[in-house]
Symmetry: C2
Subunit: 353 residues, 2 copies
């Protein structure tokens, strides 16, 4: 069994800290772990198992001797350093959007399209958090009944915008309760012009707006879903997808209201429930009589995608609703990345060809 020298780039972030946790619990044989971040964060000490590791500044030479590099420090960092890591022999699993739509780069949710890993050239992209939990809940349905159309509305947690967004929402909530003023500087989008109150409010903006009126987050859900579920055929209209993404004052775990149409018009709720309950990584929580349905507060800290509230559209045969919830920092980011590495290891693909 192979042993790996692992690096985490962006180790001090909301996802980075979960990556450390996921690596420490992983089935991978980790020979060494190196924590990398920006110059500003260098010197920070972080726990890994029973060790205290010191965060180092990311440089090209940081990757000498590294077998696996997990990136989650923003698209520009990935664009700059991922090629340096690959050049030095590391396989990169990138949790930013930098390379996701590159036709040469596999975009992978292991339970859904692990076969795409075989095509990697040193870099595998981790999809967007909101996309991952949606395809996790739809793939078992697609396998059983075929899937033709998806209309999703998300209610996403603030941790998707990083640790500063969590702190802002909590501080702002306290200020609201105390009747004090608070000036937001992070949400809805750190780099956008205006910032709005997220505490006790819903913001229908995640990421910046595109020219067509969709946000970039909505664009990602549409195009990443097609890439993952339609085998990379980007011109495929096999599955129509459209999305509205919103942010709610929840620290961790995204919720999604998913409306979908299947090809097999004999599809039924019991069959969908069975398919989901048998799918690796999905947990069915669907018992209205006992008020059992997925909730963000219950999903936080877990690796699974929780699915419930499955019911038919009463006027359109083959159309259904479901409600899914998953920890955006784990299955939506850190766990999916480490899981990709575990699959690579198992498939003997954890090396640059």
């Amino acid at each position: 069994m192979s042993e790996y020298n692992v690096a985490i780039v962006g180790a001090t972030g909301a996802v980075g800290s979960r990556m450390i946790e996921m690596v420490s619990e992983s089935k991978l044989h980790v020979k060494s772990l190196k924590l990398l971040a920006s110059k500003r964060s260098a010197g920070t000490k972080l726990k890994y198992k029973d060790q205290e590791l010191t965060v180092e500044e990311t440089t090209p030479d940081s990757f000498a001797g590294i077998d696996l590099a997990l990136f989650s420090a923003g698209g520009s960092v990935s664009k700059k350093f991922a090629p340096e890591a690959i050049k030095r022999g590391a396989v990169v699993v990138d949790n930013t959007s930098a390379f996701r739509m590159d036709p040469e780069v596999p975009l992978v949710v292991p339970e859904v399209n692990s076969e795409a890993l075989a095509e990697h050239h040193g870099l595998i992209a981790n999809p967007n958090c909101s996309t991952i939990q949606m395809v996790m809940s739809l793939e078992p349905i697609r396998e059983r009944y075929g899937l033709s159309r998806v209309i999703v509305t998300t209610m996403q947690a603030v941790s998707g915008a990083g640790n500063r967004a969590i702190k802002e929402t909590l501080d702002e909530s306290r200020a609201y309760l105390d009747g004090e003023d608070y000036k937001p500087e992070v949400l809805p989008v750190k780099g956008d012009k205006k910032h709005y109150q997220q505490a006790f409010n819903v913001l229908p903006q995640i990421d910046v707006f595109e020219d067509d009126g969709y946000t970039h987050e909505e664009w990602k859900m549409i195009h990443e879903t097609k890439k993952i579920m339609c085998g990379g055929d980007m011109d495929s209209n096999d599955i129509q997808v459209t999305a509205t993404c919103t942010r709610v004052p929840v620290p961790i775990a995204h919720s999604e209201s998913v409306y979908f149409e299947v090809l097999d018009k004999n599809a039924n709720v019991a069959g969908i429930q069975e398919a989901i309950s048998q799918f690796d990584g999905d947990v069915l929580q669907d018992d209205p009589d006992h008020q059992i349905y997925p909730q963000a507060i219950n999903a936080a800290g877990k690796r699974d995608t929780f699915v419930g509230r499955i019911r038919p559209d009463q006027e359109n045969k083959g159309a259904f609703h479901l409600w899914n919830v998953s920890d955006n920092l784990l299955k939506g980011a850190a766990w999916n990345s480490v899981e990709i590495a575990e699959y690579l290891d198992r498939m003997d693909l954890l090396h640059v060809k």
Copy 2:
């Protein structure tokens, strides 16, 4: 011009207090206002204009001499006392679900179907809050392009469950921030078996579950929308409607992600925006370039329905998204009820035939 003796039943509730405010600002000539509630709340003193009024216990004889009775004290109170009020010559505007689906009772959003008021027999039903703001945003589109299908996901404010739900959510939020335990007893549904944390969480349950897996709130959105928009023809499949209703930790104002299909496949975003901006009671807030879109914190305290984020489904001609937000206690309840009374007065219908 007629003068009216007005009564508010449920005056101490979240909606009742707004009814007092809406009556005080109304164009109606109000000769007197009587505040009614349960025995428990009798004796409470409440402000109306420059007067201090004492809340009285509701009895059949409370309605002697009353011309207009606004009910918002729960379905059982309406069922018991609305007939008594009508018997004594009052016109009842009922904000509960008690009579909404009675084919003899007009269900009215004045800007949408005021013509239905002509058919009243002493009682007019005020629709459910989440339904009202949806039909307010869809009616101008239906008028211009025809409407065939609606798929909505709501993110509703806790005030929809009353003053106790607001208090619970705020107290629970503070406990969460302080790291203290809190035992919820109201949300998601006061009368249901289990109660869950709403603070920093999303609950995909509003009202109790029906046998078909839909909640009663979802049922209301589907059937009330058809009754209001299809002229009372309940067998009509003219407009297909399906819904997912969720509760978010927001005190006031519901948000709705509405996907819809129109009949005229030449419909476009500019035409929809124009129709909405010209519709009485709607305010267009749709400028992504400047991050302008409806938000709950901005809509609270206002009577309008705010609409934005209008954009086409990129794969289905004639299909669009919109995002609407409105104060569930005002247009969703108290203001719509008082507005119904103003229309009745103007149409010379504020009397029992």
